[in-house]
């Protein structure tokens, strides 16, 4: 056998193992959410509407197609307790919100999922650029969102202390809708000023989370002061969102950071996720691959599939374009297939993540004109 064919055989074996793990995990999670003693009031009530019995008819991941698509509108309004599995009653519970610029936001209850997700993500961060014990700056949305607490936990899990700024994305969306662009600019400046102050205060910050827009603004603000991003001492950045495109990544690496990690010492990793699922990590992004960004969900806790635009039960072939479909399978939260507001291309498994991923993530073309993305 050649080295290549051995590698291919190994990958295939690992794929099969991953698939077996996912199937077993699916059954376990479905049993939990639909068993009268452990399930949440929401899913137990929903069970009555189903034309199958999840407890007996879900034997593998593919059986989740029997469920209707998850509608995130179900998350709007209360009572929030209906989402808490009875098996987790009494545990300290958070609520994380999305949307809510106008009207009632969508709410997701969380107990430990955000910690578990970010601890798993922590394993993917290279210690060389995200040194253990170093302090972090969280330059992103705060308030009733998962991100602030999650990043803070990531930092603490790695032994550091996290500095945060206040950022209210609902106000940002409102400013854009009102066309108050001067106010928007001032608010962004207000956030960046806080970040610059923290960075100048001698806290030995080496890692950060930033949204692409705020990272770019921070780099610009530093350059306007005659400094560069490298002067901050930050060597590890984690960011995310559909604006995190190959071109934007290349622009940052080439023009703000001073080159790839081997030259500049600065490493940036994209991520893809939301309040419904965990955090999908990226295959390492390199110039050799034109900064292509491919995300792989943290299976078996969450799965991302790329499905046919017209038939969400059908996965597209590798390289083909489709809608991103998320599935969340944790003891806290069960999402049996949710059509994201994004589209992308299906990616093949590889040694690090022996399951399918998604690349080229961008707003779903059917929604693109109505969606305000990357507002902060």
């Amino acid at each position: 056998m050649t080295t290549d064919s051995t590698a291919a055989a190994n990958l295939e074996t690992r794929q099969q193992e991953a698939k077996a793990r996912l199937d077993a995990h699916t059954v376990e999670i479905v049993q939990w959410h639909f068993h009268p003693s452990t399930g949440s009031p929401f899913w137990l009530e929903k069970k009555a509407e189903l034309d199958f019995d999840p407890l007996t008819d879900v034997k593998e991941f593919d059986d989740l197609k029997k469920f209707p698509l998850f509608e995130d509108e179900w998350l709007r309004g209360g009572p929030i307790r209906r989402w808490v599995p009875q098996g987790l009653d009494g545990k300290p519970t958070y609520v994380f919100e999305t949307g809510g610029t106008t009207g009632i936001p969508k709410s997701r209850m969380v107990i430990d999922d955000f910690r578990i997700d970010y601890e798993m993500f922590s394993e993917t961060l290279p210690d060389e650029h995200f040194p253990k014990g170093s302090n972090w700056l969280m330059l992103g949305p705060s308030g009733p969102r998962r991100l602030r607490l999650a990043v803070e936990h990531l930092c603490q899990f790695r032994g550091g202390i996290c500095f945060c700024i206040d950022l209210d994305p609902r106000w940002v969306v409102k400013l854009i809708k009102k066309g108050w662009m001067e106010h928007l600019e001032e608010y962004k400046k207000h956030c960046i000023d806080q970040a610059l102050t923290v960075l100048s205060a001698g806290h030995d910050i080496k890692c950060m989370f930033a949204t692409p827009k705020l990272l770019e603004s921070l780099c610009n603000a530093l350059e306007e002061k005659g400094q560069s991003f490298a002067d901050t001492g930050i060597t590890g950045i984690f960011s995310g969102g559909t604006e995190f495109t190959p071109q934007w990544t290349r622009f940052c690496i080439e023009e703000f950071f001073g080159g790839p990690p081997a030259e500049s010492g600065i490493y940036m990793t994209p991520t893809y996720g939301n309040t419904l699922m965990g955090l999908a990590c990226s295959k390492p992004v390199t110039a050799a691959e034109d900064y292509k960004i491919s995300y792989y969900a943290p299976q078996p806790r969450a799965v991302t599939e790329v499905v046919d635009f017209d038939d969400p039960t059908k996965v597209v072939s590798v390289g083909e374009t489709g809608r991103v479909k998320l599935t969340t399978l944790t003891k806290e939260f069960f999402v049996p297939g949710f059509l994201e507001r994004d589209e992308g291309e299906r990616e093949a498994p590889f040694d690090l993540y022996p399951w399918y991923g998604v690349s080229g993530v961008r707003p779903f073309h059917g929604f693109a004109s109505q969606t305000t993305v990357g507002v902060y």
Partner: protein
């Protein structure tokens, strides 16, 4: 097929985001255009002063002379565009194929741009009212009458977010280079042709390449350009104009709502002006802000509308290569049908009559594009909703309105042609601040005198007149 890069201060930049610009009728890719991200623009603009410094190496007069040569290159030369070359015929063909404008109109617009380039000296002399141009270079100087004057440049570059559907607007940014300001352009997504060809002609004529940036893309680079240039133009609809109203950094060019007013002293001879009215409505496929969208008179309005409908109603949609083609295609899917829907709704109102109906369907839908054939609509009153509308095809209302109410009722008007010899009406029109360009007499709204400012003088936009006092020893001996 040409591959067109982003240009950053004269240097090509290959983006990782490349889009196909497609032929509007066949969907075939005509060019690959590299897309700029907003961050690039904001970062590049920190170097904007270098563009002005490069141009300040030349006098305004030298630059004007080179612009004359650029006019020749633009109109007749084979120029380097992206990874290939482009002849004038290829330019007209490519521009037509992506914008839907008939080829002969594309060629006519080339002539218009070339004319402006070749006459830039005279144009600037008029726009500056004879100011020695070195005053603009130095920031101050002494006029012939011995008075110290100062004009302070407000930005090292002029930015422009350009449209896809109206190649005529490009004359507005051409004066930047001889005024020694760099050019930072975001071409319209379907119309990269004019900005890139113009830049190639400038460079061929000896203008320093580092004076130019080209940032193709969608909304994000447009917003970044407007945010990071101290002076910029944008072309759009009424919401765009309202959004930037009062922003001294942005000159927003929107709909023109240009009109022809036939006063009571001439209206009985209306037949003499049918050619002028038809030309004002129809020329260049009615796409320009200077095309007439309203004819106002106190009487004979039904006859005027009928005569105009007879004249332009039969015009058919023809292929863009047809030398007789008079209509531009709507290339954005669904747009023509949406416009037609709005018009149909307005036609339901009492007092509104569609005069071109008898010449066949106005909406002509084809496989990948659509046309709207010319429309003339009679309004019994200025209160009719459709009397306030303007569309991107040959469309005009004919509005019945007493002469003494006309100026008060016409609303914002980019070009107002007031046909009269009535001195008091002329005086009132002259004083009407809602009319931008005023033509007194039988002048089509579309006939521009390039020696006149358009929608505000570009000199006033780019330079600020201010006090400047110097000791006597700095003044030349008299």
């Amino acid at each position: 097929m040409l591959e067109i890069p982003v240009i950053r201060w004269g240097k090509p930049y290959q983006s990782l985001e490349v889009t196909d610009v497609q032929h509007f009728a066949t969907g075939e890719p005509v060019a690959k255009v590299h897309q700029a991200n907003g961050g690039i623009i904001k970062r590049d603009m920190r170097q904007a002063q270098k563009a002005r410094d490069a141009l300040l190496e030349f006098s305004c007069e030298e630059l004007i002379e080179r612009l004359g040569k650029a006019g020749d290159h633009y109109e007749t030369g084979t120029l380097a565009i992206g990874d290939g070359t482009q002849t004038p015929a290829e330019f007209a063909h490519q521009q037509s194929s992506t914008t839907g404008l008939p080829e002969h109109m594309c060629r006519a617009n080339m002539g218009k741009n070339s004319f402006v380039l070749k006459n830039m000296g005279k144009i600037l002399d008029c726009l500056t009212r004879g100011l020695p141009l070195d005053v603009l270079s130095r920031g101050w100087g002494i006029e012939d009458r011995g008075v110290v004057v100062s004009y302070q440049c407000q930005s090292p570059v002029l930015g422009a977010v350009l449209p896809s559907n109206s190649p005529g607007v490009h004359t507005l940014w051409l004066p930047a280079i001889p005024l020694q300001l760099g050019l930072v352009l975001k071409p319209g997504p379907q119309e990269p042709w004019t900005p890139y060809r113009m830049m190639a002609a400038f460079i061929e004529a000896g203008i320093p390449p580092e004076a130019f940036c080209m940032y193709p893309g969608e909304a994000e680079p447009g917003a970044a350009l407007l945010e990071s240039c101290e002076r910029a133009m944008i072309f759009g609809g009424t919401p765009t104009v309202e959004r930037y109203h009062g922003n001294p950094k942005v000159q927003a060019h929107g709909p023109g709502f240009s009109k022809i007013l036939l006063a009571d002293d001439v209206v009985d001879d209306w037949e003499q002006y049918v050619d002028l009215m038809a030309e004002s409505i129809y020329i260049n496929s009615g796409r320009g802000c200077i095309n007439c969208s309203g004819v106002w008179a106190s009487r004979h309005t039904k006859e005027i509308a009928a005569a105009l409908a007879e004249r332009i109603g039969p015009i058919e949609a023809k292929p863009p290569t047809d030398p007789e083609a008079g209509l531009a295609a709507f290339t954005v899917p669904g747009m023509a049908a949406a416009v037609w829907g709005m018009i149909e709704s307005d036609l339901q109102e009492d007092g509104v009559t569609h005069l071109t109906e008898q010449h066949g369907d106005r909406l002509v839908e084809q496989e990948r594009c659509a046309y709207l054939r010319p429309m003339i609509v009679h309004c019994e009153s200025p209160d009719n909703e459709i009397a306030k509308k303007e569309y991107m095809f040959p469309f005009s209302t004919v509005v019945e309105c007493p002469e003494d109410q006309m100026l008060a009722r016409i609303g914002p008007t980019l070009v107002g042609t007031v046909i009269t010899k009535n001195e008091s009406l002329i005086r009132a029109a002259t004083n009407a601040t809602h009319i931008d360009r005023l033509n007194i007499g039988a002048i089509p709204t579309t006939k521009l005198n390039w020696l006149q400012p358009h929608e505000g003088s570009i000199i006033d936009f780019l330079f600020r007149s201010r006090a400047y006092q110097v000791p006597d020893e700095m003044l030349p001996a008299s």
